[in-house]
Amino acid sequence: MINFSYTIWILLLPFLMFLLLGLAGHKLKAKLSGLLGTFGLGIITFLSYLTAYKYFFTSEKIDGAFQKITALNFTWLQFTDKLHIDMGVLLDPISVMMLIVVTTVSFMVHIYSLGYMKGEKGFERFYSFLSLFSFSMLGLVLATNIFQMYIFWELVGVSSFLLIGFYYQKPSAVRASKKAFIVTRFADLGFLIGILILSFNTKTFDFISLTNPSGAAISQGSSIGFLGLSVMTWSMIFVFLGGAGKSAMFPFHIWLPDAMEGPTPVSALIHAATMVVAGVYLVARMFPIYAISAPVALDVVAYVGAFTSLFAAVIACTQTDIKRVLAYSTMSQIGYMMLALGVAKYGGETGLGYMASMFHLFTHAMFKALLFLGAGAIIHSVHSNYMTDMGGLRKYLPITHITFLIACLTISGIPPFSGFFSKDEILAAAFQSNKFLFAVEYAVAGITAFYMFRIYFSIFWGKDTQYQHTPHEAPATMTIPLIILAIGAAVSGFIPFNKLVTSDGKILETGINLVIAIPSVLIGLLGIGIAYIMYRRESTIPDKLAAMFKYSYKWAYNKFYIDELYLFVTKKIIFRYIAVPVAWFDRHVVDATMNTIASVTQGVSFRIRGFQSGQLQKYAFVFITGAIMLAVLFIYLWK
C-alpha cells in the first residue's frame, strides 16, 4: 500500500490560507497576500499531481480495477452507533481526476487574478475567498461519505455567494449573489432530504459501503417501496435535485447567468470549471446506486440533462453579453455530461457514458476556463461585456485571439482538439441507448458551434469598432494562464480516459466511432459556416432573421421568461401571500387573543372592584340583603 496520508495537506493548506488572509490580510500588502495565496495553491497543485501520478501509475489494482483508497478518515460527529459524519480523504479515479481539474484551474485563476484584479479594493479579501473556495471544493471532491460532501457542498455554495457578491456595493451583484444562494439552497434541501431517506434505509453515509455494487446498502433500499417507486429511487431523485441546483440544470438554472456579476476569474473557476460540475460529480459518485437500484432516477438525470442542453444552447444564440453567452454554454455542456451519465449503465461496454461524461467534464473544465479567462482579458481591455461594443479585436489582442480560437474550435468538437474526443464518446453512448436523446444532442452540437463562432467572429472580426482607448494585450500574468490552458484544451483529448476513469474501474475498450464522428464534425462545421456568413462581416442577416422569427426570438432573448416566473413566485406568492399574512396573523390573531385575555381580565376587575369600596354601610347593606335572600331561598326551597 502506498501511503497517501500527506493528502490531508491538500485540505488543510487552503483552509489555513483562508484564515491567514481573512484575519490578517488587511495588515499585509495587497500584492503579498495575492502571492501568498498563489504560492499556497501552487503547493497544493503539486501535491495533487503527485497524488494522481501515484494513484494511477503505481497503486495496486485488484482484478484489473482501480481500488477506492481511504487515505484518512476520522469521526467528526457521531449520530448513532452506525451513523456518523466522518472527515477524510477518499481516492478513486474520479476524485483524483477532479483533484487535477480543481487545482489546475484554480492555480491558473490565482495567477491570472494577480493581473486582472490588480489595484482592486479588497484584493486580499478576494484571495482569502478564493482559498475558502479551493478548500471547500477539494473537501467536496475528496469526501469519504455523503454527509461530508454535503458539508463542503454548502461551503462551496457560500464561497460562491461571497465571490459573486464581491463588488458588494453594486446592487446587481448583491441581488445575484442572494439569488444564487437561495436557489441552490432550495435545491440543497432536496439533497438533504435525499440523504435522510438514504441513511434511514441503509444506515450508513459511507460512500464505499453505499456504492458497493454487491453490498447490502443497494439491495436493502431497493426492496422497500413508497408511492410506487422504491425508496432508493426516491432518495436518488432528491439527491439529484441538489446536483441539479449546483449544476444549474433546468429549472434551477436561473442563478447561473446572474452569477456572472462576479469578477471574471471567479466565473471561470467556480461558474464554469469546478463548482457547477459538482452536480455531475455527485451523480457519478453515487452512480452504482443510480444504475443498479434506481434506473428511473437515472432516466430523470438523462432527460433533464438533454433538455437543459438544448434549452440553454437556444438562449445562448440570442444573448449579447459575452459572459452570459458563456454561462448558457456552460449549462448546455453540463447538460451533455448529465445526459451521458443518464444513458450509462454500470460496468462493461454499456458503461461508456460514464467514462464519456467524466472525460467531457475534464476537457470542458480546460476549454471553458480558457474561454472565460479569455473573455476576461477582452473585457479588461475594452471595459465592456457587450459584443456590440467589440469588433476587430484580433489586431490588438493577438494572444487572446489565438487562445480563444482554440477554445472555440475545441467546444465545437473539431478534431484534433480535446472537445472532439469527449463529445464523440458522449454521442456514441447516447446512440447506443436512446436514439431520441442522441438526436437532441446532435442538434445541440451544431447550435453550440454556431453560437461560439457567433461571439468569436463578432469580437475578433466583424465591424471595425472605434475605441476610445486603444485596446492592448493583457499583462503576462494573464496571458500565461491562457496559453497553458490552451495547450491543455488542445491536447487533453489524448489522455486515455478509457484506461483510467471508468464506471467499474476496469479498462474499457473504445475507439473513434466514424459513423458518429464524421457527422458530428460536419454539423460543427456547418454551425461555424453559418456563423461565418452572418458575423464575419457586418451584415443585416441576423437582424432580418430576428425580425422573421420575432416571437420565438423574443422568447429566447428573454430566456423564456423563467426569471419572471421566479420573481412572481418569490416576490408575490412567498412574500406577499405567505410571509406577510403570517406576520399579520401573528399580530392580529394570535397576539390579539392573548391581549384580549388580558383586557377581559382587566375589564372584569374594573367592573367588580366597586364591591371593595371600604364603606361599612355598603358592606352591611350587602351582607344583610344577602342574608335575607338566602334565608328566603332556604325557607321556600326546603319546605
Binding site: 467528526w76 460527529l77 449520530f79 459524519i85 444562494f181 434541501l189 435522510l196 406576520a583 401573528d586 397576539d591
Partner: protein
Amino acid sequence: MDILSLFVVIPVLTITAILLLKDTRQVRVVSAFGMGLQLLMAGTLVFLYLSARHAGNSDEMLFVKDYLWFKSLNIHYSVGVDGISVAMIALTSLVVFAGIFASWEVEFLRKEFFVSLILLATGVFGFFISIDLFTMFLFYELAVIPMYLLIGIWGTGPKEYSAMKLTLMLMGGSALLLVGLLGIYFNSSPDANRLTFNILEISKVVIPLPAQRIFFPLTFVGFGVLGALFPFHTWSPDGHASAPTAVSMLHAGVLMKLGGYGAFRVAIFLMPEAAHELSWIFIILTSISVVYGAFGAIAQKDLKYINAYSSVSHCGLVLFAVLMMNQTAMNGAIIQMISHGLMTALFFALIGMLYGRTHTRIIYEMGGLMKIIPFLGVCYVIAGLASLGLPGLSGFVAEATIFVGAFQHPELFYRIVTILAVSSIVITAVYVLRVIAILLLGPTTNEHFEHLPDARWFEKISVVTLIGSVAAIGLAPFWLSSMIGTSLHPIIDKIIALNPF
C-alpha cells in the same frame, strides 16, 4: 463550599460588591470581573467534569450536594450536574460575560441595571445546577422578576406594555408549571409517605399513567411558554423589541433555554409515557413554530422583530427534537439550545451596537453599512451564516443532528413532519440574506451614516467571545456532542424501557 454552589455565590457576591460601591464608574468593572470569574469557573467545571468522566465516574449526576431546607415538605437544596447542565452552564456564563461588555455604556441607573442583570443570571445558574424541583422552580421565578424591571425601566419603545405582557405570559406559564410540579410531587412515591422533589429519585419511580396524562401537558406547556411554543410565543417579539441589548441577549440566549431544558429534564424525563402518547400534538405545534416563525421573520422590518421570529423558529426546533425522544434528536436539541443561545446573543449584541450608532432598527432606513463599519458588518454576516446553518459554525451541527435524529423515528408521520421542519432551512436563508443585503450591502443610502465609528474595544470583546464559541462548536463538535451524548444514555434508557417502540 462545593463547586456548583459557587455558581450562585459568585453572582451574589458580585451584586453585594456593586451595592457597596460609591463610584458608579467602577460598577461595570466589578461586574466584568465577577462574570469573568464565573466564565473561568465554567471552564474549570467543564474540565473537572470531563476528567471525572474520563476517570470512569459513571454516576448520572456528578458533584452532587444535598441540604434539607424545608423538612415538612421534604424540600432540599440539592445540586448536581451532568454533561447537559454543564454545557448549559458554560453557555450561560459566555452569554452573561458578553452581555456585560455589550452594556458597557449604559448610563441611566447604572448600578441598578447591573444588579438586576446579574440577579437574573443568578437565577439562571441556580436553575441549571438544581436537581430539586422546588429549588429549580424558585430559581426560575428569580430569573423572571428582574426581567420585568430591566425591560420596564431600561427598555425602549412601548416598554411598560412589553414588560407587563412578557411577565404576565411567563407567569401564566409558571402557574401551569406549578400545578404540574406539585402533581409530580404528589405522585413521587408509590406509598405516598416519602414524597420528594428530587428529580433523580422521582425518575426511579413510575408516575401512574392517568396522572402523567394530566401533568405532562401542564408541565410541558408551562415550560413551553418560555421556550416560545406556538401559540404562546407572542411575548417574545414585543419583549425583545423593547428590551435593552444585554437583556435581549440574556433572554433569548439563556432564559428561553430554561424552557427547552425544563421540558426535557422535567416533563419528558419524569413522564415519558404520557410524552410518548401525546407527543404528536406537540410535534404539530412545534413544527408550526418552526415554519411559521421563519415565515414571520421574512416580512418584518425591525431587526429585533426579525430576530425574535427567528428565535421562535429555532427554539421550536429544540422542542420538536426533544419530542422525537431518541438519543440523536435529543442530543441535537441540546446542541441547538447552545448554538441558538450563542448566535442569538451575538445577533442581539450586534443589533444593539447598530442601534447605538444609527438610532434606528428599521432595515429600510439603513443600507450599505458594510463599507462604513466593516468589523460589525462582517460579524453580522457571520452571525447570519451561523443562523442559516452553514457548516463550520454551530447552527449546522445542531440542525444536522436534529434532522438525522428525527428522521430515524420509526413512524412515518414523524418522518414526514421532519421533512416539513427541514424545509425551514430555505426560509431561514431567505430572511437572513434579505437582511444582510438590505442592511449591509449595496450603496450607502443615508449620508448621515457615512462617518459612523466601527466597534470599540469592549464591543469587540463581547462579539469575539461569542463568534469564537460559535466557530469552536462548528469546527469541532465531537467533544460537545459526546459530552451530551454520554449523559443522555440513562435518560434514553428509561424512555425506551417504558415505551418499547
